[in-house]
């Protein structure tokens, strides 16, 4: 089966000579549809670089990035930008909603930039807002929405249309732990609709919402969690 996202021997080097920094070294990672993967690592370990390369915002120095089995290296710059708009959704730390646009306009903007007709974009936007339970707030502006509603709109924007890959870099930012958890819950729900998700976080209680946690150190993927047994195993353990 083709993975939604695959990194093959990806390395990224910044600078040269004595100032050379190897941000990523021979990273292999595959993420399937419906799977949420958390990437954890200390500051400077390369986790954000991994995300920007996975999202084709940067090119690797060597190695391949495949989205839905297609090597991004084989694309022209403009085709890559097109693919990025169509297939990849981003969730930013502060959600980055445009204040002059309604919730629905924020969600449909990437589709309209991609040439989707207004009517079709509107219908896809409403469907995405509906999936996140905020369709009734579609005509509101960001400053008329609660913090939780803004999170939902930002995630709706990331999954609108035919997005296959959802990328989030520390999406819970400065939120308290309960609101941070709400974001993770939404990302998990979003990926369960056959989207592959990658979330970078340094907080273990947020990473634990992922199906798999990948650990990165000094640009290397050093370890990952195995498949999570069902919660019943926990109850059996506590009964001892």
């Amino acid at each position: 089966m083709t993975s939604a996202l695959e990194l093959r021997h990806v390395s990224k080097t910044y600078g040269s000579g004595p100032s050379e920094v190897n941000a990523l070294r021979e990273v292999d990672l595959a993420v399937e549809r419906g799977e949420l993967v958390a990437v954890m690592g200390p500051s400077g370990s390369g986790k954000s670089t991994l995300l920007t390369i996975a999202g084709s915002l940067e090119e690797p120095t060597s190695g391949q990035v495949l989205v839905d089995g297609v090597d991004l290296g084989s694309f022209s710059r403009s085709d890559r930008a097109k693919m990025r708009r169509r297939s990849i959704g981003y969730v930013f730390q502060d959600f980055n909603l445009l204040p002059g646009l309604t919730a629905l306009e924020n969600v449909t903007l990437p589709l309209e930039l991609d040439g989707v007709r207004a009517k079709a974009a509107r219908s896809a936007g409403l469907a995405a807002l509906d999936e996140l339970d905020v369709a009734e707030r579609a005509e509101r502006y960001p400053d008329e929405l609660s913090g939780g509603e803004r999170q939902r709109v930002a995630i709706a924007r990331a999954i609108v249309g035919e997005r296959e890959l959802l990328l989030a870099d520390e999406p819970t930012g400065a939120l308290d732990s309960v609101n941070g958890e709400a974001v993770m819950r939404l990302l998990r729900t979003a990926t369960q609709r056959d989207v592959a998700g990658v979330v970078v976080t340094h907080e273990a209680h947020l990473a634990s919402w992922a199906d798999r946690v990948v650990f990165i150190r000094d640009g290397h993927v050093v370890d990952q969690t195995s498949a999570v047994p069902g919660p019943e195993s926990l109850l059996a353990a506590s009964d001892r």
């Binding site: 273990a204 209680h205 990473a207 946690v213 650990f215 150190r217 047994p229 919660p231 109850l235």
Partner: protein, 193 residues
């Protein structure tokens, strides 16, 4: 977890049978802390002996007895709620000892040991999170129980992260030897008390 106080709390809502107390205890702790019915009746007997609960004039089987909290029981419950729990760490933290020992065993990669424990702790956290995810946002009791475990486990991950950084900062040319390390410390229990 104080089972006697949890039972007193459930009885503060009104008189109940033992079996119902068991069901409610498990439901309210998100079924993370199972309690067998034998434990419930043994605890009720002790509470009855200490005059913190009283049973309806019990004839026949214990399962037919209904228990109610007494005034002394209500006072005991109130005092327990306000008493800070024991926050002193265990006398020997096994994980800390393992890491300190790993530093002394030649040929052992301490970072790998730290990572192994980090992975294990996060896998346990994933299981607690699954319990929470399956229950939905409305189940506040379960969320509170799961959060308590999750944040306790997260503290371990943070300690492992800090250990990783501290050990990385050690000069590479000077490998850690037994002489460099202080003996395993005993927590200052007396000071905390």
């Amino acid at each position: 977890m104080s089972v006697p106080h949890a039972l007193l709390a459930l009885l503060s809502e009104g008189p109940k049978y033992g079996l119902r107390l068991q069901n409610e205890f498990e439901a309210r702790t998100g079924e993370v802390w199972p309690l067998n019915v034998g434990q419930v009746y043994t605890t009720l007997q002790r509470l009855e002996r200490d005059e913190l609960v009283e049973a309806d004039d019990g004839e026949g089987e214990r399962s037919r007895k209904r228990y109610r909290i007494t005034a002394a029981g209500a006072l005991e419950l109130d005092q327990w709620l306000r008493t800070p729990p024991e926050l002193v760490p265990p006398p020997r933290d096994e994980l800390v000892i393992k890491v300190l020992v790993a530093l002394r065993v030649p040929g052992t990669d301490v970072h790998e040991i730290l990572q192994m424990h980090r992975r294990h702790v996060i896998e346990v956290m994933q299981r607690y999170t699954q319990v929470k995810a399956a229950a939905g946002e409305g189940d506040v009791a379960l969320a509170l129980v799961a959060d308590a475990e999750l944040f306790r486990l997260e503290a371990i991950v943070r300690w492992l992260d800090a250990a990783d950084v501290r050990l990385k900062q050690l000069p590479a040319a000077a490998p850690v030897t037994t002489a460099d390390l202080a003996p395993v410390p005993t927590p200052p229990t007396e000071v905390l008390r």
